[in-house]
Amino acid sequence: MTVTADRDAAFLAGIGKIAETIAAVHADDVDRNARFPIEAVTALREQRAFSALVPTEHGGEGVSFRAIATACFMLGRRCGATAMVFAMHQIQVATIIRHSEGSSHFEEYLRTLVADQRLIASVTSEIGTGGDMSRSVAALTPTADGRASFEKQAPTVSYGAYADDLLTTLRAHPDAAPGEQVAVLHRANDTTLEPSGTWDPLGMRGTCSPGFTVKAEVTAEQALPAPFSAIAPETMVPVSHILWSHVWLGIATDAFDRARAFVRAAARRAPGEPVPAAVKLSHVMTQLSMLRGEVHRALDEYVAAADDRERLSTMAFALHVNNLKLAASEQVPRVCQGAMGVCGIVGFKNDTPFSIGRHLRDAMSASLMVANERLHQTNAGLLLIAKEV
């Protein structure tokens, strides 16, 4: 085995242990109380999983992106909220790694991330943009002492109250157009986070994502050198859609596994007799396999493009990666509902080994994380001009 394969295998063995022995144990309590999955997050931190993607030349673990995606899937099978927190953190890390462009400030930051295992949240959504991440209202505004301040009204900041650092999109200066954005990294300790709402959602309850008014003062070097108009298509959007989809695939896979366990138990109780639910289970498997096929295909396409930024910036790639998000987010609730149909009332109840309620509710969040209708609108335009789809 190569060094990378060894590293990936060791990393995933650790993730598997955390998923099985910690995330799974607390998943129902995290969900019921809409509380942060602190046990699993602490274990991930102790395993140095927060810097797993950081290349070894910056002192990190140098785990492959493919292994990070697999980790999202494995955690998603046991606790959707833990997996989503992990995935979102890795999105910020991937963004910083690729778009630091030799900035000494960010290279130093990566070393701090490795040493302190800091958890990074993102502040990308904003009230007044209609859910369009590629536009901002809040702007970096120069202060008298040569720094810049901002105040942003975010409708949701996932695990905002638990993050060590925040990556916030803003207009580059007060006169900048809505689309002229930068991404600024700032410490939670140097930031005022005023909650602007409560958190009692249908699913993904452990991500603890209420609204916040985010205020901070930063220096120029805290903005990633690349404009957000390059960061979004080359890294943030594809990595988000791929890692989220792996989390969702994990949730759907566990829903299917529970339905399969239910059918096997029924078959064992009455050997030789037909189990009606077994046929339903076969139908659910076809749905799950289509989801898995699309999620893996998208990962392969992204990994094959690697650091070919020209390829990542084509409309064809944007079309594919948006389609992944749309297809996966629409398919996940279908699989979970199908699994619930297999289990019947014991799947509907919240306290059986075959409960699917949490999975179904978590799955419902998928089409809202970047509204599907907005992405369909974007892809409708891209389809007019794309050649191979």
């Binding site: 157009a177 689309g179 002229e180 108009s229 298509p233 020209e310 390829r311 910036s313 084509t314 409309m315 064809a316 974007t378 335009g381 891209l382 007019l384 001009i385 794309a386 050649k387 191979e388």
Partner: protein, 65 residues
Amino acid sequence: MDVETLADDASLYEAGMTSHASVNVMLALEDTFDVEFPDEMLKRSVFESVASISSALAQLETQAA
């Protein structure tokens, strides 16, 4: 935005062209010049300015010749 004052190398995106508008520009160019932009040319940098569009069209003409 006044077309007369827009330099050939000025950013169309900075002049206010949205992604949605850029798709319409691409369709109109394909129609007018009777060409098809291959997928690898359909990206922001190619449609950044009048100059980059001209050079892409020239490239397509050379390939066709």
